[in-house]
């Protein structure tokens, strides 16, 4: 080990609680993740695109635009300090069978949920590598490997995040930067299960029946897993996919 190297994942000696940047800060899971990280002592800044966030530090950012991502990171670091946690949460889904989905909808789902996450992870990794410390948490989904009917683009994007996390984990591991995926299952109040839910009650009930914990999850439970992987002490976990699905996809992730 050379004199400049520190054990993987050890915060530098000058390390103070850094900034946690959460993309998609207006979404329910983005809000829950921000709250969990704040409760754990992180200074949290969120990004938003269409729905403004006004109850915590926030920056508008189109994550599909690499220049906008670079500018947002630079702005956040100038104002709030070094970003040592990235939660790549922003994503969109499109409901419908692939054969009847407009090509633009396929592209936009991949562009936001996969390419956008990749651009944010790249910018974060670029900065964290230099400081030899960082935690990157990508918000995946049980859909990635389960492949629910009607969510092909979303499932493709979320599956893509797993490969992205594993490659990036190998590229930046020597610099103390970890990259992991949290894969929530069905959550109460989500686009699939909430008031404007896209799935029938029977589908949701069948899902719950196949879930060992016999219920839907909460945003707070998914956020707790994100916060766990963002801790300095999560220093030997990288390239992992952590399901938060009540056991639904057990054995398939």
């Amino acid at each position: 080990m050379s004199r400049h190297q520190v054990p993987t994942g050890t915060p530098p000696e000058h390390h103070e609680a850094g900034v946690a940047l959460v993309t998609g800060g207006a979404s329910p899971l983005g809000r829950a993740a921000a709250a969990a990280l704040e409760a754990a002592g992180h200074r949290v800044v969120v990004t938003w695109h269409r729905t403004p966030v006004d109850d915590r530090p926030a920056v508008r950012c189109d994550i599909t635009d690499a220049d906008a991502v670079a500018a947002a990171f630079a702005g956040v670091e100038a104002e709030h300090g070094p970003i040592d946690v990235l939660v790549a949460n922003a994503g969109v889904g499109h409901l419908g069978p692939l054969v009847t989905t407009h090509p633009d909808d396929v592209r936009s789902v991949i562009d936001v949920s996969l390419v956008g996450a990749a651009l944010c992870a790249a910018e974060a990794a670029r900065r964290m590598r230099r400081r030899r410390y960082g935690r990157i948490v990508l918000v995946g989904s049980v859909a990635a490997l389960h492949g629910p009917a009607g969510l092909s683009g979303y499932a493709a994007a979320k599956a893509g995040l797993i490969g992205l996390a594993r490659s990036l984990a190998r590229e930046v591991g020597s610099r103390g930067v970890t990259v992991n995926v949290v894969a929530p299952g069905l959550l109460e109040g989500s686009a699939v299960t909430g008031d404007d839910r896209s799935s029938s009650q029977a589908t949701v009930e069948a899902w719950i029946a196949d879930t060992p914990l016999r219920r839907l999850g909460t945003f707070a439970e998914a956020a707790a897993a994100i916060e766990l992987l963002a801790r300095p002490t999560a220093s030997f976990v990288t390239g992992a996919v952590l399901p938060v699905d009540g056991g639904y996809a057990m054995g398939a992730t």
Partner: protein, 80 residues
Amino acid sequence: MDATVFEWVQGRLASVLELDPSEITPTSHLADDLDADSIDLIETINAAETQFGTKIEEQELYDLETAGQLAELIERSMPR
């Protein structure tokens, strides 16, 4: 070795690696002394392309050992 090019390399590596420029000498071993990895070197040659108009392939980085050799590679890759 051109002193201007080496000073530029010194500054870039110091920035990329968050080191003091004085810690980087022509004989500093990129991996063993400076803990520079391939991503750091690719970032440096990309910056050199902007600064000097050099075209350096990533494969040309494989055999580099010292900061001085990196400066020499950039120097001999400059457009004439």
